[in-house]
Symmetry: C2
Subunit: 270 residues, 2 copies
């Protein structure tokens, strides 16, 4: 049986450089389709391009136009392949429109060294049962964001004040995360996880969709099975844009992915 996430991110090679895909309506959020899901879709084509280098080490994506559910094509162009890493450009297109232009460097995370020196600290979260589940979101939110049905998210109780009109103003949202289909995390799904939480600007009291201009993800290790911890933070909202940093930690307490995106400040929703 194919799990939902794998079904939704499947691609079919139509040539050496072109893959047919189907953007699933289950990932709609606000006025568009979730950018992390689209990145994971591109990732499936890249994994097929580099069969001996299956893991995304660094993926940079520039979001050019809003994707819609329906057919799409991923066009891949290998720019260099060496012994340990390969780099390709990849574009997600629908009709004549390019939705996303990406550059990706793939490798094999199993072949990397295991020297770890980290000062990064795992987010502190109460146990999942003591956090606020996304299933408690108001019905209007769930209707605007079918994507929420894909996730089991448990938010830190101190980070969901925005849901009741009391954002903390700190610019931080952390949550437990897993897919509702039971699929365990892997490097491919982490490309989606880094853009799964609500925009961190919710915690600044700015409700509304925050369109991504650019997102770069670094996958640093293969995640252990189980719950992930995901933390979004922003430090600088200026000039109508903000950066959103995301960290993903696995159940073994390892920092498995880091990402940063530059997004447009949400416009007030009326």
């Amino acid at each position: 049986m194919t799990l939902e996430f794998d079904d939704h991110t499947a691609v079919r090679a139509v040539s050496d450089t072109s893959y047919a895909a189907e953007v699933d309506p289950g990932w709609v959020v606000g006025g568009g389709v979730n950018g992390g899901y689209l990145l994971a879709l591109i990732g499936t084509a890249l994994r097929e391009t580099f069969p001996k280098k299956p893991d995304p080490l660094a993926v940079s994506a520039h979001y050019l136009s809003a994707a819609t559910p329906g057919p799409a094509t991923v066009v891949v162009d290998v720019r260099r392949e060496g012994g340990s890493v390969g780099t390709a450009s990849a574009e997600l297109r629908q009709g004549e429109e390019t939705r996303i232009a990406a550059l990706a460097t793939y490798g094999d995370l199993e072949r990397l060294g295991d020297d770890v020196r980290t000062t990064a600290e795992e987010p502190v979260l109460p146990p999942p049962d003591e956090c606020v589940a996304n299933t408690f979101a108001p019905k209007e939110i769930l209707e605007l964001a079918p994507m929420m049905g894909r996730f089991d998210m448990r938010f830190h109780p101190d980070h969901v004040g925005w849901a009741v009109g009391q954002p903390s103003g700190r610019g931080e949202i952390a949550a437990w995360f897993r897919l509702t289909d039971g699929r365990e995390p892997d490097p491919a799904s982490l490309l989606m996880v880094v853009d799964a939480l609500p925009p961190v600007t919710f915690d600044l009291g700015m409700m509304g969709w925050a369109p991504t201009l650019e997102l770069t993800a670094h996958v640093r290790a293969r995640p252990a099975p189980g719950w992930l911890k995901v933390r979004h933070a922003t430090r600088n909202l200026a000039g109508g844009m903000f950066e959103e940093d995301c960290e993903v930690w696995d159940s073994a307490g390892r920092l498995v992915a880091q990402s940063r995106q530059l997004a447009r400040q949400p416009r007030p929703v009326s």
Copy 2:
């Protein structure tokens, strides 16, 4: 009179999509040419590509092979141009080799809103005269890194223990920064500034060149004239790679650029 930095980053259009450039030997560092300088060179071609959108908002670069001083070509391919931003792919090539593949979104920083909400804190540095100047670097270092002659850098005294075999182990290096040619900072030069300091791994006691796999820079505002403050930090060295975050602050105390790179852990130098 053309200032040195502008001379070294000049390009000449040879077609609508192709620019001739000259990689200057003055930017050699260790076994290669500084990646920030090469990014600024690509930036010059992009600025000519988008004359009404002169500023790099987000530039993502994947480093494919080591550049050498001498002739190079920048090939630009506009992927989308809208009213406020334009996105292009750009490659720096030498002969048959692609050195850098980049994606860049350009716009006009003057046209952005001026709402600023930041929790980011400016690096605290003693006055430049009380910091450690790069001109005090050992002669062997200066010979290995002609690039150092381009910069007037004043390091935080607590962040240069590595120069005398006593790295702090914190993974942080901050310094005052300006170009020795007197050129004031602008969004174009910030693409170079984000990769100008020594690798932050020096502060972890790992001397040696740290090859960049991927670097993404966000330019957040046009810098005021005068000294910049530049801060490099890393939180996670794992699997033979580390992320290096860079912040650049201008003399008006504004966060003008943020970048993150994924680099290979330096090999011990014998």
